[in-house]
């Protein structure tokens, strides 16, 4: 994942960092350590959907 402002790479370690705790239902954002931009973290459900979508389109292509 890349920062949407400065395009620095955001690593899985940064994604695992805990947020400030003030958001209801947990943190869904990641602050870029280079520029401060707040990047949305893709939810697990959406990520699963994207992955399954890619999987289906790959299968479709190979067929």
């Amino acid at each position: 994942m890349k920062c949407t402002f400065c395009e620095h790479e955001l690593t899985p370690e940064m994604l695992r960092e805990k947020g400030c705790g003030s958001c209801i239902g947990g943190c869904r954002k990641i602050h870029c350590p280079y520029c401060g931009q707040e990047n949305p973290v893709v939810s697990e459900l959406l990520e699963k959907f994207i992955k399954s979508d890619k999987h289906i389109s790959k299968k479709g292509n190979s067929a």
């Binding site: 209801i24 869904r28 602050h31 401060g36």
Partner: protein, 651 residues
């Protein structure tokens, strides 16, 4: 095995993330590799073996790093490996397509005295977009081995890299900065007598940029002598009175520009040439401001204001809720719930369904949804860093710089989260000014969407609102810049390439943000409804509305507008939705609508933003901002009402 590893020569691979370091590592080492956490950290480092000209080497794949001055844990580990592992060769892997952005780190590695071999990777992609790189010329200028390659399936450049490692005979190059900077570096390094792996010149440059880890290492090596080194560094930083990090970065950029002169050839009539030209237009004030106005007109006015706040809200609120859902739910409650208080709580004037759900789903959600789509399209195109460069000059006049574009732009999404982001600004002065401007003159997406939707139907009203907002933003910023003491840091950033937004990226960002926003606002809207309901039943709300009535009269607004202002303190968008109700009930004429919209936009930050302001800036600053903003909002509203009535502008 451990002993053997210690005697082996080490090849360390370094470079930005996503330049193909791991592919190079796997190609060089084959399948016999180990991955372990670097001691004392959770950062993984891969180690493997490779045989070059009969000699065994240990190869280390380091985490991505952008500079020798680390910001993240990964970068700190990568640098620690360079400092502690005594490399025989450091292979700096860079992306051929981003040579200009990545070459400054090569300079840092060379000036650190490390045995650098430069691998320009992903050459195939660079050639595909029309780039030609003169590798021998760059090698001659850098005076280190330079290899061009595409270490993927074709393994292009792999044998040249192995030869360069085998034949490496040392790094002799020195690239000099400006005379005054070199003199400072020379003076400080002459005070250092310890033994270091890195060049003293490089260490001094890092000390001047306030690198705490390097300061600690120098202190350990110098012992009693460190005090004189520290004093010399402090004196230099004080004497120069400039941001030395920026100064050194600019010097490095200047040297890289010279080094790349004649090295890169870009084929004419190629697609990137237009992208580059367009990128320049967005940053030039003469072309950048008209382009910004086009972005605002299409993105905010037409898409968010017209389509989101107009078409979709009319459909959801006017048709679905008013014609179908509300009558059905109200009917059900009236039929089955005999208790007045519970009926009121669910479907009354401030009921959970009739106010909370309706505002959150039918009014706010379509507006923030369309705003997030527009925001994601602009974001994915790479426009925001260019906007930062464009407004840098204006922002300097109001005590900020281009870096403040991030919180300001985020403020149009939600002022509360933008206030948290102000902590990324360099000085306290900037943070206070940005917090004040966010609380005062930056409407959040939902508030702005509702206001755009309401005012776009009244000729001239939207223009008056926009002029008022920009005028107040600049006036208060200019005054704050004079009054608030503190440093004035400079702004410098690498501009990433401009590109066409990708549909999938836009949708992912939009859905993710909408999910976040909905999870945030829905419970708050429910809580606000319950509080208003409790206020109504207890009589407290009526008392509050009556207390506000004289203020409404001074502003020339009907008494009913009090409720929208009270809503606004719960959430800005809640207040805007209240305004929407007043307008649809036909209670406001054009002048009143404009005055109410301006006052409500400037009016006090919502509860959540106030709490974040207190958390970030402390009680004193938060309360001062609260009173300034409240006073300013009513003063501007009163003046605007008098002005509009006197001139008959919107009559």
């Amino acid at each position: 095995m451990q002993k053997q590893a210690q005697t082996e020569k080490k090849i360390i691979l370094v470079g930005n993330p996503n330049v193909g370091k791991s592919v190079v590592f796997n190609t060089m080492t084959g399948s016999y590799t180990t991955v372990s956490n670097y001691p004392g950290t959770s950062v993984e480092v891969s180690r493997g073996q490779c045989l070059i000209a009969g000699e065994n080497y240990q190869v280390l794949d380091t985490p991505g790093m952008y500079s020798m001055l680390p910001i993240t844990e990964e970068e700190r580990v990568a640098r620690r490996i360079l400092l502690e592992e005594s490399p025989h060769i450091v292979v700096h892997v860079i992306d051929a397509r981003n040579l200009e952005r990545m070459l400054p780190m090569t300079l840092q590695l060379i000036e650190a005295g490390l045995p650098v071999v430069l691998l320009i990777n992903i050459m195939d992609e660079a050639e595909r977009i029309g780039m030609q790189i003169d590798i021998p010329l760059l090698q001659e200028k850098l005076q280190i081995p330079v290899v061009g390659g595409a270490i993927g399936r074709a393994k292009r450049g792999l044998w040249e890299l192995r030869d360069a490692i085998r034949d490496f005979s040392g790094n002799k190059a020195t690239f000099l900065y400006a005379t005054d900077l070199e003199k400072d570096v020379q003076e400080i390094s002459s005070l250092m007598e310890g033994d270091y792996i890195l060049n003293k010149r490089s260490l001094v440059l890092m000390l001047l940029q306030r690198d705490e880890e390097i300061a600690q290492r120098v202190q350990d090596r110098e012992g009693d002598r460190y005090e004189s080194v520290e004093n010399a560094v402090n004196d230099t930083v004080f004497d120069r009175r400039v941001d030395l990090h920026l100064r050194i970065s600019l010097e490095r950029k200047r040297i890289c520009k010279g080094l790349l002169d004649g090295v890169i050839t870009q084929q004419e009539n190629n697609q990137p040439a237009f992208a580059e030209r367009f990128s320049d237009w967005t940053m030039n004030p003469w072309t950048g401001i008209p382009l910004l106005l086009i972005v605002l007109y299409l993105g905010l006015y037409q898409f968010v204001g017209g389509f989101g706040a107009g078409t979709i809200v009319d459909f959801l609120e006017g048709s679905i809720f008013e014609e179908y859902l509300n009558p059905w739910v109200i009917g059900l409650c009236n039929q089955y719930i005999p208790w007045y208080w519970l009926n009121e709580l669910l479907v009354g004037e401030y009921g959970l369904f009739t106010l909370g759900v309706r505002y959150a789903v039918a009014i706010i959600l379509p507006i923030v949804g369309t705003f997030f789509i527009a925001f994601a399209v602009i974001e994915d195109s790479g426009y925001f860093p260019r906007l930062a460069m464009l407004v840098d000059r204006v922002f300097k006049k109001i005590g900020l710089n281009g870096r403040a574009v991030i919180p300001m732009v985020l403020g149009f999404g939600c002022d509360t989260m933008a206030t948290v982001v102000t902590r990324t600004l360099e000085s306290t002065r900037e943070r206070v000014i940005a917090t004040l401007l966010l609380a005062l003159a930056i409407p959040c997406s939902a508030q702005m969407g509702v206001i755009l939707g309401l005012l776009s139907g009244v000729p001239g009203s939207l223009l008056v609102w926009m002029v008022s907002m920009v005028g107040v933003f600049l006036l208060v910023g200019l005054l704050a810049a004079q009054v608030v003491p503190g440093e004035r840091p400079m702004f410098y950033m690498e501009i990433p390439p401009m590109r066409l937004p990708q549909f999938q990226n836009v949708m992912i960002k939009t859905l993710t943000r909408m999910q976040w926003y909905f999870m945030e606002i829905f419970p708050l809207f429910m809580i606000a409804s319950v509080l208003l309901w409790a206020g109504k039943l207890s009589g407290a709300l009526q008392w509050l509305v009556e207390a506000f009535n004289p203020v409404m009269q001074v502003l020339g607004l009907p008494n009913e507008a009090s409720a929208a202002f009270i809503f606004g303190f719960f959430r800005r968008d809640f207040g805007a939705a209240g305004l929407y109700d007043l307008q649809t009930q036909g209670l406001l004429d054009p002048v009143q609508l404009t005055v109410a919209a301006v006052t409500l936009t400037l009016f006090v930050p919502c509860v959540a933003q106030f709490l974040v302001m207190q958390k970030e800036r402390g009680w004193r600053t938060a309360l001062a901002i609260f009173f300034i903003v409240t006073g300013m909002a009513f003063a501007v509203g009163w003046s605007l009402n008098k002005f509009l009535l006197l001139t008959g502008l919107l009559a």
